[in-house]
Amino acid sequence: MERVGVFICHCGSNIGAVVDCAKVAENVRNYPGVAYSTDYKYMCSEPGQEMIQNAIKEHNLNRVVVASCSPRMHEKTFRACVEKVGLNPYMFEMANIREHCSWVHAGKNEEATEKATDLVKMAVSKVCKNEELQKGHAPVTKRALVVGGGIAGIQCALDIANNGYQVDILERTPSIGGKMSQIDKTFPTIDCSACILTPKMVEASSHPNINLITYSELEHVDGYVGNFEVTIRKKARSVDIKKCTGCGTCMTKCPGKADDEFNMNLRKRTAIYTPFPQAIPNKPVIDRVNCLKFKSRENGKDVCGICSKFCPTGAIDYEQVDELVTEKYGAIVMATGYEQFDHSIYGEYGYGKYPDVISGLHFERLVNASGPTQGHIVRPSDHKEPKTVVMVKCVGSRDPEHGKSYCSRTCCMYTAKQATMIRDHCPDTKVYVFYMDVRTPGKLYDEFYNRTREEYGVEYVRGRVSKIYQDGEQLMVKGEDTLLGKQVEIAADMVILANAMIPQTDSEKMAQIVGIGYDKDGWFTESHPKLGPVETHTAGVFLAGACQGPKDIPDSVAQAGAAAVKVCALLSKDQLETEPTVSKVDTKICSGCGLCVPVCPYKAITLETIQERRAGKTIERLVANVNSSLCQGCGACTVTCRSGAANLKHFTNAQILAEVDALCQTIL
């Protein structure tokens, strides 16, 4: 027999000033199922909760409805409250008469009171159909996967490893290091990027708890928090990493040439290569697209093989194939970083055709001592030192029409950094910066920017560049100085564009593989913009670094640490509590048609063969089965299921129908 206790909260005057709480309590006193009904000033307060607990004991209540604020606010509070006196926490319902009633119907006291009554009746009708539910438990694989081996991934892995947990770093390029390894100096300290990054890379590679899986791709993710099963494609390196000593002979002998993407195609590399000298692992891979041997094989021949001939350890293996391995992890950190916006869509910047209009990352390679020009700032076209450099900010950023609507956050600072570096390397070179705004919120950032202008004499022009065109050897940059309100034209030798940060081109596919959300631009979505910045909506998957949105190095490192803490908190548990509000299939009803299987976003439903006694015979038949650890309780299957075999606990068909009926019964 249902014995529901109803408690109407005034929330001080928040509810009480509009809704006649005593009347609502009175209105439902005789409602079917209600055994006790009352109102009180603050239900969530200590005395309020005690009042509920006492009433449960005194009136032998087996279900409770509290009408107060949003369940998103206090459902947990009241569940804990009723649980303390022995009630199952799922025998509780909340009616939202504050956010959905008193606050939005100010002055309409009579109607609001009537509405509150309806909402309470709905809650009572539902709670009468509620069932006791128990949280489930799932084991935890005490090992984490970090996807992406940039600074965020490395830092996150180190933090997890230093907490004593095994962690794998999955990196799709031949080496860890990421974008930071391409950068020459870091702002605002102008310290050498490699000098602070490479020790971290070495530490990661030598850490007993860290395992590097480079030149590999994420293929497939199954499972759930604490128990992910991740399939990884280990791409064929064509080099046996166990035999290779990293001596580099092969690279000196290789006749194949290819664009050097690490150096932004500013020079060529060999077909067998490591991306950069400090690469980790420092073992080459064969770029099969550009390898003479593999190219000849496409034409039915088999030439070259020089690297193999010269390799002292016989590590070259042309017959290697991609390998798929499946590993188990308890948590996954996505640290897949960003890409640089491609400015070739902009006609006003020359569609990317002018060799001396380069991006920020090009410049980093130009100015790097181990880069293609040994650190000399020269024009890519004729290798002359530029005398006038124009820098353009917000290329692709803050441009909802052609580029991205967001601010890329890092460009103001890296432009300032690069401007000072030009002035340092080439004191005679004039530097102009076209900008929309200068945004420097960071420790010592604004001071750096001011030094750039005041001490380094970099000229900032507020305005957009309307056109860049080639005029002889020079680039004419036309724009408007909006502060002076006049057109300006600068004859420049080189133009550096501050390209926006954009997500990896396949970030949406990645998100779908892992089962996390992404925004309109393709950045991965955090679970809460303020209170869950490194969590995702998928339990056990966390975010670090720029894959969540544009970030500079300190922010990425900080977020990596935050994600690591969340991972460790998860891995420190022996068992995980799982929500019981999941789908369940009544096998007596299920026909095993399997229509629910493809509908489940968590692959939680499988078809299983069960045995059944029927008319004296044992028969075998298919039925759907929900893995309650995988199921997150969306309910998609329940509507797909025609016969109602699939039902969502705590949001059952009967419970929702009871609410609908309760609302409608007053209509006559």
């Binding site: 009803i589 026909s591 048609c593 025609r642 016969s643």
Partner: protein, 294 residues
């Protein structure tokens, strides 16, 4: 037709005698001249019961469900619509192909038994509505085939009847459906004959679930009607059996065809029962589906 009939009997005989099949399901002559009714043949001696005439309307595929837990190997004769029904049942995992032998029979359309019952003897009997609109008179899947394929007489889906309802104003629509569903006696013949309604336990057989009371009125009957239509949406193979068996002449296909029409328009043309794999419209989505809820 008689050629097909003798070939049917010969095939059934051969299947039963060779032991390839233990049961053959076909049609026999029923009480009235317009009754051709399902028959189960277990012995080669009985194959002469089998007939093939212009009233072999009834879909035999649904009977295959009755044999899933027996040791039988079942052969059925199947027209185009029956083979689509067969695919439907395979896709819904209600039957397994290795227990069935499908003997395809191209069909030139069946006459309406309902019309025949009302007409005087000897009068010209019109073709059933579903047959008139049939686009797949030839079996779409079969293990064997009897007779020659016929040329389909329809190539496009005919939605003129649906459009006629759509053109009514709201009150006229409501009145029309209320009238139609006032007649419904909820005998569930439409459901039980439907190859897409193949759940072992239909929600309308679960009164305790609260989905529907046993009260009979236009509202409850419409709930039944629209719910059943929704359950077969994207799965209906357009055999029209529901409408043919309805003792109250409720135009049930008008509901089913509405969903077919809208699915085609909204999500791209779809033909149920042609394949046994691949997504069914309502257990599938495209990110690019029409957006009108912004």
């Amino acid at each position: 037709m008689s050629d097909i009939q003798s070939e049917m009997r010969a095939t059934a005989k051969q299947l039963l005698e060779s032991g390839e099949a233990t049961v053959v399901i076909g049609w026999e002559k029923g009480t009235m001249p317009y009754n051709s009714t399902p028959v189960m043949i277990r012995s080669a001696a009985d194959v002469d019961k089998l007939i093939w005439d212009e009233y072999c309307q009834q879909n035999l595929s649904t009977y295959l469900i009755d044999f899933i837990y027996t040791e039988d190997k079942v052969a059925i004769f199947a027209k185009g619509c029956d083979t689509r029904a067969y695919n439907r049942l395979i896709q819904d995992k209600r039957i397994s192909a290795d227990k069935c032998i499908v003997i395809g029979v191209p069909c030139s359309g069946m006459k309406s038994a309902k019309a025949a019952a009302k007409l005087p003897e000897g009068a010209e009997v019109p073709m059933s509505k579903a047959c008139k609109e049939c686009r797949y008179p030839n079996p779409v899947v079969f293990d064997r085939k009897i007779g020659q394929d016929v040329t389909p007489w329809c190539t496009e889906k005919d939605f003129s009847d649906v459009e006629a309802i759509e053109a009514m104003d709201q009150d006229a629509k409501a009145a029309f459906w209320k009238e139609q569903y006032t007649k419904c006696i909820r005998c569930y013949a439409c459901r039980n004959i439907c190859p897409a309604c193949n759940c072992t336990n239909c929600i309308f057989d679960q009164s305790a679930s609260g989905w529907q009371s046993k009260d009979i009125n236009a509202s409850e009957n419409q709930f039944y009607g629209v719910t059943r239509a929704f359950h077969v949406a994207g799965r209906c193979i357009e055999c029209g059996q529901c409408e043919m068996v309805c003792p109250s002449d409720v135009p049930i296909m008008l509901m089913n065809k509405k969903f077919i029409k809208d699915i085609d328009t909204l999500f791209g043309a779809y033909e149920a029962g042609l394949e046994t794999e691949g997504p069914v419209p309502l257990s599938h989505y495209e990110v690019s589906d029409p957006e009108e809820f912004m």
